[in-house]
């Protein structure tokens, strides 16, 4: 007879790991399913190609239907937290108010969300970057901002011990020092200690919802396998969770499924200087734009860079001109424009059963991007760059929506208790539930929402937080 778990969590990123931690500490039997492989600090790839191929869906080359935007998402135990920069900001009132207005959900306010942010932050080591952490790329960014009279601020990053003289760009392929506060170094070990079972390299293809349990079918390699649990939490991110529900043919019951997709489309501008900049050396990102005018204008400027493969892909053209550009890799500085995209995209399955992401850029969003890119070009010219190149390639790193949260089942997929409408044994708390684009890095808020979701789930099961704490004390 097949085992029926208390919970199955599909996805091991910021959402799934936080929920796994909360459910296992309450004593639940939890199985986590993850499509990617399991790596550790000692086994992460040390090469950009290997990292792309082994840690990301489709090698980081998931494209929109019109091939104008590439979407990058993690496929590894720990999910996107393995390949992101672990920049952990809370959402501001602007983002939360906008969510409350759109969704009708009352807990989207700073006071209520603060206790969930506090709870997840207590499991993380957070570091506000200091001036001594800056590399030359950051120095140019700050100088450019001050030349223009724009406000900047230090970034807050999840990191514990980056040591001296190390290049944190390596962390984009997994942190070998166990410093970056990915799920693999924070919530997952605690959950495993409390009994979590992780089944990696399992590709979930369908969920079948029943009144007393849910079946999750998929493939372990080429072997078809089905797992069962009383409740299932979908935590595969905006693309993964939406795709799984579409494959499960729930679109007729959930009219909002696949709608409301946002991605904070990003454009990178690379400037060449006569001096060596070495943007890839040292702390990778240390400062951010904090100017209220940018927030109002719907974009932010990020102080980033990328490995040689990514820079080579961003540069249009080929041949000797492309090589001339690449030969100046150490002389490059980079600022990225990330747009708070207003107009949503959609996700559907095509007749070959593949996910199609329609994310055309509206005129308004294009204008936001153009404003930001023009500003960055101007800043670099003022700083004395000898050449400035804004890549035409759009990148989507923050993938959000598709299963929006809300009170109205016609315009949302999950309710205020994170339950899929009319499917009481299915829950979602990952970035797919975002009602719109917040314009802020989403990782910490995914964790906070997942903390709240875990409380709802436990309450639905008749377990309150006090019982969970007692259970945890008994276990320890």
């Amino acid at each position: 007879m097949n085992k029926i778990h208390d919970f199955i969590i599909i996805g091991s990123g910021a959402s799934g790991s936080v929920i796994a931690h909360e459910l296992t500490r309450a004593g639940a039997d939890v199985l986590m399913l993850e499509a990617g492989q399991r790596f550790s600090a000692a086994t992460f790839p040390d090469n950009e190609l290997d990292a792309n191929a082994n840690l990301m869906w489709n090698g980081g080359m998931d494209a929109s239907a019109d091939a104008s935007t590439l979407f990058i998402r993690g496929k590894v135990v720990g999910g996107g937290t393995i390949i992101n920069q672990c920049l952990l900001d809370r959402f501001d009132d602007d983002a939360l108010d906008s969510w409350q207005t759109q969704s009708g959900i009352n807990f989207f306010n700073s006071k209520t969300m603060a206790k969930h942010y506090d709870a997840v932050e207590s499991n993380l080591t957070l570091h506000s970057m200091e001036q001594k952490d800056w590399n030359k790329n950051a120095e140019l960014y700050v100088q450019g901002f001050e030349n223009k009279g724009f406000e900047w601020a230090p970034l807050r990053r999840g990191q514990s011990n980056c040591g001296e003289g190390n290049d944190c760009m390596q962390c984009l392929g997994g942190c070998p020092r166990r410093s970056k506060q990915s799920m693999l170094e924070t919530f997952l070990p605690k959950a495993e200690q409390a009994g979590l079972t992780i089944q990696s390299e399992f590709l979930a293809r369908e969920v079948i919802h029943g009144p007393s349990f849910v079946a999750v079918s998929g493939y372990q390699g080429s072997k078809a396998t089905t797992f069962y649990s009383r409740k299932v939490i979908l935590a595969s991110g905006a693309l993964g969770t939406t795709e799984l529900l579409l494959r499960s043919q729930l679109q007729d019951k959930l009219p909002a499924l696949g709608k409301g997709f946002h991605c904070h489309p990003q454009w990178m501008t690379v400037a060449l200087f006569n001096d060596v900049i070495d943007s890839h050396k040292g702390a990778f990102q240390t400062v951010k734009s904090s100017d209220a005018r940018f927030r109002k204008a719907g974009f932010k400027l990020e102080n980033v860079f990328a490995g040689p493969i990514a820079i080579g892909l961003l540069k249009p053209g080929y041949g000797f001109d492309h090589q001339r550009f690449m030969s100046q890799y150490r002389n490059m500085s980079c600022i990225e424009v990330a747009v708070r995209d207003e107009d949503p995209g959609t996700m559907i399955l095509d007749n070959r059963d593949r996910l199609v992401i329609n994310k055309p850029l509206s005129d308004a969003d294009r204008q936001r991007a153009n404003n930001g890119n023009a500003l960055v070009q101007d800043m670099f010219q003022d700083l004395g760059a000898k050449e400035v190149m804004t890549s035409p390639l759009q990148i989507g790193l923050h993938l959000m929506g598709g299963c929006a949260i809300g009170n109205n089942p016609n315009h949302s997929v999950v309710n205020a208790n994170f339950q899929v409408h009319d499917h009481p044994n299915l829950y979602i708390a990952d970035s797919s539930i975002f009602p719109n684009a917040p314009g802020i890095n989403p990782s910490l808020s995914v964790m906070a929402l997942s903390h709240r979701a875990s409380q709802s789930i436990l309450a639905d099961c008749g377990i309150n937080q006090a019982q969970a704490s007692l259970q945890e004390q008994a276990t320890s």
């Binding site: 082994n54 091939a67 390596q170 090589q323 690449m326 030969s327 593949r354």
Partner: protein, 137 residues
């Protein structure tokens, strides 16, 4: 013992990839050409996470480029790289072609992987290195 480079692509398809790669990344200014640098040995790694339909379609493209005269291949690469100049009904196809071609060629070339080649490594040419020391932990 096998000297097989790829289990995904045939010899003719690999020759098509070398032809495309050498047009996009020729030898000069200290750089080796795409085919000289030996990076093609990592082609299966680069394609390992791609959908099987995409691998098949890319194989057809490589085969076509193997048999097509070099000027035609140059024209295809140039058209793909200038997708925005095409009408909206054809531009997405050109962009997809560009992502496919450029994605593989650039990823292989700047991976630093060289197979048995003794040529200059493109990562050394651009003087790229990353340090992440764990000995103090």
């Amino acid at each position: 013992m096998s000297d097989q480079i790829s289990k995904l692509f045939t010899q003719h398809q690999l020759q098509g990839l070398r032809k495309i790669g050498d047009i996009m990344l020729p030898a000069g200014n200290g750089f080796p050409s795409f085919s000289e640098c030996g990076c093609i040995a990592a082609v299966d790694t680069a394609m390992s996470s791609a959908h099987k339909d995409d691998i098949r379609d890319f194989g057809y493209l490589l085969l076509a480029c193997h048999y097509a005269p070099t000027p035609i291949v140059k024209l295809i690469i140039n058209m793909a790289d200038n997708a925005e100049r095409f009408p909206s009904f054809i531009a997405p196809l050109m962009r997809k072609l560009n992502i496919g071609i450029k994605g593989i060629v650039i990823s292989l070339y700047y991976s630093g992987k060289q197979g048995f080649s003794n040529s200059a490594n493109p990562l050394n040419v651009i003087d790229f290195n990353l340090t992440c020391n764990t000995s103090d932990l």
